[in-house]
Symmetry: C2
Subunit: 550 residues, 2 copies
């Protein structure tokens, strides 16, 4: 029942959904909203959205003068700061493609990504001067490197050919640039996945996908960003567009606080307090640092009331501490680079209002509901859809207008399955639509035909006071195919035996899920984004044999 050409069209204004429309709107309607940045130069910089838009238009003119054509890529190696905001809007707004690069990757990977994207210009913060010096000779597509600072901070030597100064370029640019209008399906920005296996692959977002994601992510069920908020994104702008906050905060007219490179607990706490931050977002490790700093110094938050935690599951103990001891509401979020990134967010329904706190908390620990625009399903190995009963685990597939249909340059070929994107995650979905990640597809432990979720086991282990880190992997078993083994890093000074650890699981999981062994190590292998790399852990355990000769 498809009607390709409807017989009657609506009589509404036809305006493309463009990223420039966000900053134009913000400068016009919330022009006085502040953007406060802790600079890598050391000081705190503040100006308004109106200033930001005016400078972004000058910067767009700089791109034109540097012969960056529509559709061409412009790379950034930068922290969360106002100049990075200007790049977000100038590059995409002018019709070019913003390519944010994760500086924590290995220089070889960065050089690979710059070459794969064929970046024409590369903008970078002072911090990354040594990195850029190292990769510049290997990046032939880059016509100029632009240091995001002023003349005073330019290096003395000529270690980088074609090095330009950001503020000099802006000073020389005229102020009369106007944002062009074009097809909303045009490419707007490019993020590469961290790529634990194979080469990094690029997710190429469009203006339409970015604006729809911004609308959806600002809604109360998602990040809930409003004009009275003061938002500090700890999640980096080089990591999936900081979960869309550089867009959603501006369209909401909120005040934006950008922390630069100082993400330790003390620096963040001070910025939260001096700027009156109400809402923040970041990965669990950041909150551990901030929470520890606050608790160790007996500090409270004056204005900080809500945070979104994503990138990895929030340890239940961290969630409890934030809520119960610091009065900060925690919203669990799940998504991925291929999803712009938001897919689901946690929260309660009207019918949960009168539940006991512990029952509410159990709901908040789930990754939550799909945001309107995203559809999801769980399937078995054969692709058959599985029931939403909160118990059955399956491969999680997603669909929606801000989800990739393929990778940049068709890397990896056809990635969809019947129009659905396979996330690589394993999850349950309950009858109320709450999704919970139980594992990565490649990490799930398949034992006797049943799937054992390694994340559940790790979360329980992390609840033991002597455990600093824990990872659960499947190892070969002659009868059950695989059995779980728990690998633990003890807290400094803490003592914990294999038997004590196993006893801690009793009554907390089904007997069949009980790890067959506990192994203590000094450290777990982690990647550039701080995530534990289980594929490397499995390699380390390739020669391991289960107790009892299994």
């Amino acid at each position: 029942m498809t009607n390709p050409q409807p017989p009657l069209m609506g009589a509404m204004m036809d305006q493309p959904l463009l990223i420039s429309s966000i900053i134009r709107f913000a400068a016009r309607h919330y022009g006085g909203s502040e953007i406060v940045s802790r600079r890598v130069e050391g000081d705190v910089h503040r100006y308004t959205v109106r200033d930001c838009e005016a400078r972004a238009r000058r910067l767009a003119d700089v791109l034109r003068a540097q012969h960056v054509a529509p559709g061409e890529r412009v790379g950034t190696l930068a922290w969360n700061g106002y100049r990075h905001m200007e790049l977000y809007y100038a590059v995409s707004g002018s019709g070019a493609v913003l390519h944010t690069i994760n500086p924590r990757l290995h220089p070889d990977q960065i050089a690979y990504i710059v070459n794969h994207a064929e970046d024409r210009l590369l903008f970078f913060d002072l911090t990354f001067l040594p990195l850029v010096e190292a990769i510049a000779p290997r990046c032939p597509t880059v016509k100029a490197f632009v240091l995001m600072s002023d003349r005073d901070h330019m290096p003395a030597g000529d270690s980088i050919a074609n090095l330009l100064c950001y503020e000099d370029l802006l000073d020389a640019a005229p102020a009369d640039y106007t944002w062009p209008e074009f097809d909303e399906h045009a490419a707007a920005s490019l993020c590469y996945t961290s790529g634990t296996t194979g080469n990094p692959k690029g997710a190429l977002y469009s203006h339409r996908s970015t604006v729809l994601h911004a609308y959806a992510s600002a809604m109360p069920n998602a990040l809930n960003v409003g004009a009275a908020d003061v938002v500090l994104p700890v999640v980096p702008m080089f990591h999936v567009n900081a979960w869309g906050l550089p867009y959603s905060v501006l369209l909401a007219g909120a005040k934006l606080v950008l922390p630069g490179a100082a993400l330790d607990g003390k620096s963040l706490y001070e910025l939260f307090e001096t700027e009156g931050v109400t809402f923040s977002a970041g990965v669990p490790t950041v909150w551990l640092g901030l929470v520890n700093y606050a608790l160790q110094n007996g500090l409270a938050f004056s204005t900080f009331r809500r945070t979104v935690i994503g990138g990895a599951a929030c340890p239940p103990a961290l969630m409890d501490t934030l809520i119960d001891r610091l009065g900060v509401k925690v919203i669990h979020a799940w998504g991925m680079t291929e999803m712009s990134p938001l897919g689901t967010t946690g929260g309660l329904l009207a019918k949960h209002r009168d539940l006991p706190v512990e029952s509410q908390r159990a709901i908040l620990r789930k990754q939550g509901h799909a945001i309107f625009g995203v559809d999801m399903k769980i399937v078995d190995d054969g692709g058959r859809e599985l029931p939403w009963d909160g118990r059955t685990s399956g491969h999680l597939l997603v669909k929606g207008p801000w989800i990739v249909s393929r990778y940049f340059r068709d890397e990896g070929g056809d990635v969809l399955r019947d129009g659905w994107f396979p996330t690589g995650d394993v999850a349950t979905i309950d009858a109320d639509g709450f999704m919970q990640i139980t594992d990565r597809s490649k990490d799930v432990i398949k034992s006797g035909g049943e799937w054992i979720g390694s994340i559940d086991i790790e979360n329980i282990a992390m609840g033991h006071p002597a455990v600093l880190q824990a990872a659960c992997i499947g190892v070969h078993h002659p009868k059950w195919d695989e059995r779980p083994v728990l690998v633990v890093v003890r807290r400094p000074g803490a003592s914990l035996t294999r038997e004590e650890m196993l006893r801690f699981f009793e009554g907390r999981i089904a007997k069949f899920w009980m790890p067959d062994d506990v192994v203590f190590v000094d450290a777990l292998p982690t990647g550039a984004t701080g995530k534990i790399q289980k594929n490397r852990l499995r390699e380390q355990f390739a020669a391991y044999r289960l107790p009892g000769g299994g």
Copy 2:
């Protein structure tokens, strides 16, 4: 700098924004959310969004069986209830056009609208049987009339040819209908303006405009609808799609409570309490009724915390009572049929957090900020843009993807001015982007080259305890062109003289704005939607002469 064909397109899934995607999403992800309706049959009906979607698909099949083609119009004369929700999704979702008709219009106007829209089917609530009996013979395009009830409530006679029973049709329909996919620019629904001058004109919304409006209106800066809310739209579903709530409540997964025809204070209060309503929306007169009922009976609200008030400016005294005495946050909203309807909503910025209550209240009284997607400007009679200084009044023009570009069947010809829609309102906008309606363009009083806002004067007059209603109109003056005259209806039993009324204005407005006269009347002329009709009032005062022979 227009690039009609971008050289690089994004690599994201391309999915049309369709109204059916809202109910599909809701049924799948928030399927258990309740829809509770007080029926015109007298009882309370409750079911889930999942039930609603299943019945809407059956209803879509009924439309197919009745030979309603894509793009054809289907009329409704109905209150806020679950069957009307089913029509919202079945008609638009199937590709036909939902035409909601205001039953408060004169039967002649209703017949005109039905004929102008060429409605193929007309669905109506039991309440409107006499109305439909009266107009049916004059509506030749309507192939069948469908009573939205069951067999037991069908009338005995044959006063209407081709009368069908809603529940019978649904019972006979198969359950396997699937929603079609088509161009998001297709027409989805049709609302006629009340048309104080000339014939009513139709605003023809598209699927794209409706879904974008639903996203935007759910955001915290706008209606702020989340999954934990229980929402009761008092604003009728026959009035600009109940401000989009039938869409935004479903995409947010909130519980929906539909009050049917009983909009008096007592009925509403009881429904708010029994269903745990947290959020509502409606015109000021409805809140007057509810507030009076609550205060007179010493009642408080257990769960009701927020309401959006629009359709007319909220009298400041009503806003104060709701906030200070009943603990209900008031959000001012402004929009119009031609805007789907939301244009602006009130609220505070981060920097207003520590202002004294009275200063905050003054901000909340404004119509507020444009919602992202809407742009606005104020212009003088010559079309020149005026400054945003909070003092200069101008004609308000708007632009955006959910604003009409023309009327249905090109009624009224070319309505835009350089791509902007003239709202017919006069407003100020301050430096922070807060818009305040000061008048209608046709009601503004032009005196000695200055514009005097009649609404300001009326609001002050309404603050006098002896005033029930007030309207301010301009009358001819030989020297100043026009001077304001205030027409007042006293509260029953209250006494108020011309001099007392004028003295009440002292210190509250500029001397030049002081009305030249106060005239007391028994009643003011009102239209079908309860608004005071100033054009009729001006006709009544055509022979009036100012005191002193002005």
